[in-house]
Point group: C2
Chain length 486, copies 2
């Protein structure tokens, strides 16, 4: 599928011929984002240079009734940047301006293509940083963080992206431009700013972001607690919270992930442990040691066989490198894995972790766990072989059972990865019909013809017949059976 020649001509007039691509190789290379299970090709890829070019391109597509969607770095895990229905993909990679920084009001203006970590680098000379720190922070874009309302290990203390963005400039699906919020950090009237953050590219395309910056902690203390059972590690999480402590981060890694980390990164984690907890404290200079001691006492009382305190910045950096590259490390032990993102009240951690292992066992699948324990934000990683159709089917089924378990515990379908196209078929189980209808109507206020990023978030009625994929594509057949629609 390629662009209609008249449309291509109009787009080239606006963007230049280098920035309108609909050749098969380009389209093929954009067929998935971080979610590889549901590929779909765009009919073309556009690379606007600035807001005015974007507006002009959006107006052309909108007039022609051609659907489109933005794409940041493509690291999303729920398929938010996968073009359904042959939509035109708008690459935001050329929106790279950073600054200016305002150190008194603690804000920085950035364009959406800026890499997350580069915001903190720019703010560092002022003793400030941008808090949201997903594992992909070396690659993911701030625009994508806004779309998915991204979190990270430090969500526990500091909240998610919506807590760290005070203003947006947005291009609506009809090409109109609006500013939401602003440097004064408040938004009277219905809060369209919070509505946009986390709307997964279904309400508008962000072209400018005013980020809120936070002072760098004066001192950080990182410790690693080693456990002989996952249950003890989970119970330690509740015990730390119940003691009134607010760690900056509280992360759990299980044995399978520890072994993968040790095979690739070599962080010195004990390979005979069933689980480790990373606990990070940060704050004023002198108070830390007492709190670290208190936490060590709690950890040992809950069964920790060893508690190591990071002696220096190098040791701390290694622990975090291991945590953030853990997903990649799993490549060393499994050809493919499927990352889940469910949330539960943290008090339910021990029993839900046991249930996840049981779900894996029932399907003959190994499930690894590395996640934001303090927030109750699970990331079960289902290991599977992508060449084995039976394993793919079992993987989908196990994923669905895990998320249904989260819902049954009063939890939710996603903590930070979004619904995208991955979990849209589960939204019926997560929300009542009245809520879903109101959500759809709110989307329709901004995106009435659903030209922008169609087929995301909400269940798609009766679309089984439209399954894409090559004839004989085992994955597509299995998706059909498992009820997941491409």
């Amino acid at each position: 599928m390629a662009l209609d020649p008249r449309v291509r001509k109009k787009l080239i007039r606006v963007l230049g011929s280098d920035y309108v691509k609909d050749d098969p190789i380009t389209c093929y290379s954009y067929r998935c984002d971080g979610l590889t299970l549901h590929p779909a090709e765009p009919q073309a890829v556009l690379y606007p240079a600035d807001r005015d070019q974007l507006v002009a391109a959006v107006r052309i597509l909108s007039e022609q009734g051609i659907s489109f969607l933005p794409r940041g770095a493509g690291t999303g895990l729920s398929g938010g940047a996968v073009p359904r229905e042959g939509s035109v993909l708008i690459e935001m990679v050329r929106f790279r301006a950073i600054g200016p920084i305002d150190p008194v009001n603690r804000t920085i203006e950035v364009e959406p293509g800026v890499v997350n970590l580069h915001v903190s680098h720019a703010a560092q000379p002022h003793g400030l940083y941008f808090v949201p720190d997903p594992s992909s922070q070396k690659a993911c874009s701030v625009g994508g963080n806004v779309g998915e309302n991204s979190g990270g290990p430090h969500t526990l203390k500091y909240g998610v992206t919506v807590n760290h963005v005070v203003g947006l400039e947005v291009v609506l699906p009809d090409g109109e431009v609006v500013e939401l919020g602003g440097p004064a950090w408040t938004t009277p009237g219905p809060d369209l700013l919070s509505l946009f953050i986390g709307s997964e590219g279904t309400l508008g395309i962000v072209t400018k972001i005013i980020c809120r910056l936070t002072p760098l902690p004066e001192r950080v203390h990182t410790m690693l607690a080693v456990f002989g059972s996952v249950r003890e590690a989970c119970e330690s999480v509740s015990a730390i919270i119940r003691a009134g402590i607010v760690p900056a981060a509280l992360e759990m890694i299980d044995r399978i992930v520890i072994q993968a980390i040790e095979q690739t990164i070599g962080a010195g984690f004990p390979t005979d442990a069933e689980a480790v907890l990373i606990v990070e404290l940060e704050d004023l200079r002198e108070g830390l040691d007492a709190e670290a001691e208190q936490i060590e006492t709690i950890l040992r009382a809950n069964g920790a066989v060893d508690v190591r305190q990071a002696a220096d910045e190098a040791e701390r950096a290694l622990i975090w490198r291991a945590r953030k590259e853990a997903f990649g490390a799993l490549g060393s032990i499994s050809p493919s894995f499927y990352t889940q993102d469910g949330v539960i009240p943290r008090s339910a951690l021990p029993r839900v972790l046991e249930r996840i292992l049981a779900i894996g066992a029932a399907h003959g699948l190994t499930i690894a766990n590395v996640f934001h324990a303090g927030d109750g934000n699970l990331h079960p990683l289902i290991l599977y072989n992508s060449r084995d159709p039976a394993e793919i089917e079992a993987t989908h089924q196990a994923g669905r059972e895990i998320l249904e378990t989260c819902l049954a515990e009063g939890g939710s379908l996603s903590g930070e990865h979004g619904i995208g196209l991955e979990k849209s078929h589960l939204m019926d189980g997560a929300f009542d019909e009245v809520s879903l209808n109101h959500m759809k109507q709110v989307r329709a206020v901004f995106n009435p013809r659903e030209l922008l990023n169609p087929g995301k978030i909400f269940p798609q009625p009766g679309r089984c017949g439209e399954l894409k994929g090559r004839p004989g594509d085992a994955a597509a057949q299995l998706r059909a059976k498992s009820g997941i629609r491409v």
Copy 2:
């Protein structure tokens, strides 16, 4: 205006005869909330006992096309609970259940009529509290806090109500019930929870609130800095923030308010000072003293003539009592005052404060200031005599000029008091037409006939002819002239 007898009969069947009132004295007593400048009487007041009664009453009113609105404690300052167009007022005072508390997940479920401070009292045995702390916290209701997205002195460190509420149960204007958010603290899909918080009772009536609780600080350090000029106090605010410090609170009080406080409460504030700053730090045990010293150095370098450290909890409590009762204390020096609520980037504080004093001088009015300096959230208090029509007119004009100054500085119309009916005529200057239209359409998704709380937030086109008020009512005539519509 009283209820149609058929409607009264239906409502009494649902609520009981004691809980449907439309006698003149009841209606008169509900003609205003904390904003006294724009009174309007309801046609009746209802007192439902629980959600089911509320739903039944809302269905009756909705079927009859009678407008209605909820009222919490009536402490709001922008007229959000003032019944325009003879709406029926729904008193939420009987929704008083507190609990249960979940200390591990740090949540508490409360009904909307619960007084703000009572939430923290209930949580205290678990070492937890509910952060939002408006000056009215001894009286205001949590439902009102949700409606207005209330702040308080500790907004600087902890954010406003939207950061401390994780779930709501809401009755929509047609009587349908929806749950938004929940104990897992996340809301995938379009974020209706954040949309509701701060919607000023225009989207639905809240019947249950899951509050997020926060650990009580281990130690608090409060200091009072004395200045010979407002400018020096303002510049100290920027200097503290620029140093990378995040105080828990950073409040400014000017000479006029200091004198009123000393005449009534007697907090020992120096009556010859032009301004004082309250700076509060809280955190780990040992680190505080060093940070307090650093702040004292900054304050003195910026012109503080004295810096007092609260020696004990009693001294701290007295400082905060003075701050929180400052509005009341002004009654000792002026028959009436009008509280403004504008926000500016904090770096603009020095010049905006000077501009506010100039606006007061130009209109022959005294303007006092007591406000959240760290957030740039101003509360200019315009002192006036409510029996002097010329002063009322000048007060409206000065208020408008102050808010226009905030907008010109990149600020906003409200930090925590809302738009209500007070500032709806200024929204055109604060938002572009595209944004306003989308806000109205979002409201229409939930409140399509505008039966719920009509005439709030958005400018009312061509309604001057409908001015209410007794013939010869000077205030009403002046409102007409000043462009503010009742």
